[in-house]
């Protein structure tokens, strides 16, 4: 399944050719037997699940570490990179997912930083930047201050930085992760120009639709190795997904409804202000009932995190009330809220959910440090905490040799299963589940879904926030869309499609026929109508 590159001629040597690349890290083989041929003048996508080894591979190609086995050929010549500067010398450039720019410098200063030898730092450099910007249609003004630029512009500056250093092959690591849809389109236009001008682009992503729309050729990586090369014109997203996970995907779905009419958590007019005084959560009203999973869909950064933090007492709501089983918890501390029976699966488990350097059984205490069986008054109950950790490890299928290993030694999926087991213990009434299956393998994913279903059947009320639309649609009893801090639409999970949800998330509104403003108040409908008119 190979494709004909649309750019350069087929008898040219490959821009990049990786043969039999193997990279081992202690305990894991991150890459093995990777074979990729990137034709010059094409956009070559590399797709795979998180943890499949894409980033490791690109770091190898960019000289950030050396492969244990295998060879790299650049334009037909074998090379050995000892550092990224070697890679740059051979015309390989990389745009990292997280920008490496200094906010208080101008575009010009950022671009020449570290490459002063090429064209100095003055007029010649400015001219070169303008020339490159015009040639590749980047539209970058060298004298703007970096902090004034938006995300899309910053990314173009990053690309320009790479071009300025003479790159012929540009690696883009998950470039769309930080962009809004319009910016994604602009980026793709830029990529097409780069291709037309004869450059080669390696595009790393796990978003299949994007890959299909921009790539000339797709390499799929699964469990550290290349499993297939696909032609985007003849491959569907579903086929690619199957290649990526190596088998049928688990499907998130709920069985019969267990929703009761008893409201567990009620948000009423909750507004959270950012440090600049801008509302990041804007007048959110929401009821979550016993046995109900309420999903919230939204592009990341639209107030989901702040909403969770307000519920968990980590951030103060500036107005509105949060009621947990008829008690007003708006002003309560995180500890009291947790003690009242609120479990919390945080979106970033390493930051908020786990002590990486502590053994598992100590992590059992975290967040439960005032409750049985972990503590006994002011004392830590070691045997209690240990016994309950054993229970969690058993019940939630946490793959670990024992409960004395430090949490960092476990894989992400097992850490997550342990966190879920912990948050489900102590008989919670309400659970905040933020991206519960993010970054976990497929097996753990279906286990986590099953646990959520069981807890729901047992009467737990759940607020589910996820970036995975299938998960949201499949797991929610009620589905809301959040945009710029407001709940702008309510969708029926039994009939809504990811496409409709996606368009609502970007402010285009749900398709009238499939969505219902079945909410109890008219306010939500009003929001929705507003947003339909706007951006």
């Amino acid at each position: 399944m190979s494709s004909t590159p649309s750019g350069g001629g087929s008898n040219e040597p490959a821009a990049v050719e990786l043969r039999g690349i193997t990279k081992r890290f202690p305990g894991v083989v991150a890459n093995h037997d990777i074979d990729i041929t990137v034709a010059p003048g094409t956009v070559h996508a590399i797709v795979g699940e998180n943890g499949a080894g894409k980033s490791t591979l690109m770091k190898t190609l960019y000289g950030m570490h050396r492969p244990d086995e295998g060879t790299i050929h650049i334009r037909g010549r074998e090379v050995r990179f000892h550092s990224p500067s070697d890679a740059i010398k051979h015309g390989i450039g990389m745009v990292h997912q997280h920008f490496m720019l200094a906010d208080n410098l101008t575009v010009l200063e950022n671009v020449v930083l570290g490459a002063e030898r090429r064209h100095g730092i003055g007029r010649k450099a400015r001219a070169r930047i303008q020339e490159l910007s015009a040639q590749y249609g980047l539209g970058v003004d060298p004298d703007r201050l970096m902090e004034d630029l938006g995300v899309g512009d910053r990314q173009r500056v990053e690309i320009l930085k790479v071009l300025y250093r003479g790159a012929q092959t540009i690696i883009l690591d998950e470039p769309t992760a930080v962009l809004v849809p319009q910016e994604v389109e602009e980026l793709f236009d830029n990529l097409r120009v780069l291709k037309r001008e004869g450059l080669t682009v390696i595009f790393i992503s796990h978003k299949l639709d994007e890959v299909l729309s921009v790539a000339d050729e797709i390499t799929v990586i699964r469990r550290g190795t290349t499993v297939a090369t696909a032609d985007p014109r003849t491959t569907s997203a579903r086929q690619l997904a199957t290649l990526m996970v190596g088998g049928e995907l688990p499907v998130p779905e709920l069985r019969e409804s267990t929703v009761t009419d008893k409201v567990v958590l009620a948000l009423s007019g909750v507004t959270v202000l950012s440090s600049e005084g801008r509302p990041v959560v804007d007048d959110v009203t929401l009821d979550i009932r016993e046995g109900e999973i309420v999903g919230i869909a939204g592009v990341e950064g639209n107030g989901q995190s702040e909403l969770i933090e307000a519920i968990m007492g980590m951030r103060r709501a500036s107005s509105g009330t949060i009621t947990l089983e008829e008690r007003d918890i708006t002003e309560w501390s995180t500890l009291s809220i947790r003690e009242a029976g609120v479990g919390y699966i945080p979106e970033d488990r390493h930051r908020h959910g786990i002590l990486l350097e502590s053994p598992l059984w100590e992590n059992r205490i975290l967040g439960h440090q005032t409750r049985e069986p972990s503590v006994n008054g002011a004392w830590i109950n070691r045997s209690g905490a240990r016994a309950d950790s054993e229970r969690i490890v058993g019940e939630y299928d946490v793959r670990t040799p024992n409960i004395d290993v430090i949490a960092d030694a476990l894989s992400g999926g097992n850490q997550q299963k342990f966190i879920i087991g912990r948050e489900m213990s102590g008989d919670p009434r309400f659970l905040v589940a933020a991206h519960p299956t993010r970054g976990v393998d497929v097996g753990a994913q279906s286990a986590i879904w099953e646990q959520l279903r069981e807890a729901r059947a047992a009467g737990l009320a759940v607020l589910l926030i996820s970036a995975d639309l299938d998960e949201l649609i499949g797991m929610s009893d009620t589905l809301h869309v959040i945009l710029r801090g407001r709940l702008v639409a309510e969708a029926d999970p039994t009939s809504v499609t990811p496409e409709q949800l996606g368009s609502a998330m970007t402010g285009a509104g749900l398709d009238g026929s499939d969505a219902h403003t079945e909410g109890d108040s008219g306010a939500e409908g009003a929001h929705r109508n507003e947003s339909e008119g706007g951006a």
Binding site: A177, T225, D348, W379, I380, T400, L469, G502
Partner: protein, 520 residues
């Protein structure tokens, strides 16, 4: 018991055999060799015996403290076993040498061998890889530090070996030992005060100011306020704790309420404390004339002293500070607080990851304030062994700078209650042993060089070894679980499953700052 392969030997019997082996060999060899040589051979043989019997010793699925099965791994064979042997021999030697001070030599050697053999059994079966790694790191650091010091000596035209020999000889004299113990009593308190902060990633540089101010005011209370015995000591200690806590509490409050870095504020508070002590320690305020060239607070009456402990067991007629018991109590309290209480758990959790602690309902600001307060309270105790056990007044010549030594010792002892014991003993030993050097025309500062080098090497080597050990542990676990191809976990969105072709924007990646709380 060597012929039948499957026979098991109960652990107590193995211990008994090992002890007999070690003890008897040592006693016999003692007749021909120096006692320490005999002991080394004895303990080594006991260790070998334990090792030979190990396959027959029933053991409950030996697992290291870090949770990995270790037997048979290369690390275990190359590092853990030799470390266990070295530690047993060293333990036996130290015990023998200590006993030698009060007992006759053959008895001391035999007892040392018995202790060494016991250690051989325990360490052979129970030394965890991570512990062995730590010991190996400290050992390596020690060797490097000695090497650097030797090089400095060599290039200054001084023969290193005789110098070391001289220091060792002088440092192990009975009177030196008492001095070392007394110094380390004080150092220990200072280091624990610093360590409480370190556990929270708080840098209490102000221990120095805290203890000086506390000691001055406590001395004044003891000197002016004549109280019955016991009550007097109690009030003096309480004053010191209160003043130390208050002084550090200011820094804690500033950090919590105003966001002032505790590093800056404690440095400033040190300067202010120096000013206040100088102001108060003048005649007409708190001070009286002590001798012709010295002024200080009025001496505490004898009923308010803390009697020393006669050090005859070390062969010295001097006394060990009675307040060594206070140090021991503080050490035990620190350990219990850290490992057994909710407060200690929250302290460690906050130190490891402030964000995770916050999300778990820990009131981080309260923890910052309280740990600063506790650190200061312990710091307040630092001057007391000297005050109540020796000088009985606070004068111009009261020892200063112990707070800074405490920082070094806390680093050296890795903030561990037991580690700090060894670190302070070692530090005091170097200081004391160097006291002889000026008599030989060798600059005494050689000890300072050694101390500084060892702090640096321990911090660096320990960190390197620790990281390596962690990776190794992950590798072992990965191997055990048969995990092969999962790279380092990235918390990021999972694949969209392919069905959402139209939803271009459905997710964005999580932050990669997943180890936010881990900044070293």
């Amino acid at each position: 018991m060597t012929d039948s392969g499957r026979r098991t030997v109960a652990a107590p019997i193995v211990i008994l055999l090992a002890v007999l082996m070690g003890g008897l060999v040592t006693v016999v060899l003692d007749l021909f060799l120096l006692w320490w040589a005999a002991l080394i051979v004895g303990v080594t043989l006991a260790f070998v015996l334990v090792a030979v019997l190990a396959p027959m010793t029933p053991d409950r699925g030996r697992v290291g403290a870090d949770g990995t099965k270790e037997e048979g791994t290369p690390l275990h064979n190359v590092l853990v076993l030799p470390m266990a042997l070295v530690l047993s021999v060293v333990g036996g030697l130290v015990a023998g040498w200590m006993l030698d001070l009060s007992l006759i030599e053959p008895v001391a050697a035999a007892s040392g061998a018995v202790i060494g053999s016991l250690l051989a059994f325990v360490l052979f079966h129970r030394l965890a890889a991570m512990m062995a790694l730590s010991f190996a790191a400290v050992l390596t650091a020690g060797v490097i530090a000695i090497g650097v010091t030797a090089a400095v000596l060599y290039f200054s035209g001084i023969a290193p070996l005789p110098t070391f020999e001289r220091m060792l000889e002088y440092g192990t004299r009975p009177n030196s030992l008492v001095q070392i113990i007394n110094d380390s009593t004080t150092y220990y308190l200072a280091a624990v005060a610093v360590a409480i902060g370190f556990k929270m990633k708080l840098f209490n540089i102000g221990v120095d100011g805290q203890y000086r101010l506390a000691a001055l005011l406590a001395a004044a209370v003891g000197g002016y306020l004549v109280l019955p015995p016991v009550l007097s000591q109690f009030v003096v200690i309480l004053t010191a704790v209160a003043v130390g806590g208050l002084w550090a509490g200011i820094a804690g409050y500033l950090k919590v309420a105003r966001g002032v870095s505790e590093v800056i504020s404690t440095i400033m508070l040190n300067a202010i404390a120096t000013g206040i002590t100088a102001y108060l320690l003048t005649e007409g305020r708190l001070a009286v004339e002590i001798s012709t060239n010295n002024i200080g607070t009025p001496p505490i009456p004898e009923s308010g002293w803390v009697p020393g402990i006669p050090a005859t067991f070390l062969g010295s007629d001097r006394e060990v500070y009675g307040l060594i018991l206070l140090s021991v109590a503080v050490g035990i309290g620190y350990w219990i607080m850290l490992n057994r209480t909710r407060f200690g758990f929250e302290l460690r959790a906050t130190g490891q990851s402030q964000t995770a602690a916050e999300a778990s309902g820990v009131n981080v600001k309260k923890m910052v304030f309280l740990s600063m307060l506790f650190s200061g309270m312990v710091a307040g105790l630092v001057g007391l062994p000297q005050l109540l056990g020796n000088s009985h007044y606070y004068a111009l010549d009261f020892p200063t700078g112990i707070g800074f030594i405490g920082i070094a010792i806390a680093l050296l002892g890795r903030n561990h209650p037991v580690g700090i014991v060894f670190a302070s003993l070692f530090w005091a030993f170097l200081t004391q042993a160097a006291g002889i050097l000026p008599f030989d025309g060798i600059p005494q500062e050689i000890a300072v060089i050694a101390q500084a080098t060892i702090v640096l090497t321990v911090v660096v080597v320990y960190e390197v070894v620790h990281r390596w050990g962690r990776r190794y542990q992950q590798q072992q676990i990965g191997r055990q679980l048969g995990r092969t191809t999962e790279s380092t976990p990235e918390p990021a969105a999972v694949s969209d499953g392919g069905a959402s072709d139209g939803a271009v924007t459905e997710d964005t990646d999580g932050t990669d700052d997943k180890r936010g709380g881990e900044a070293q």
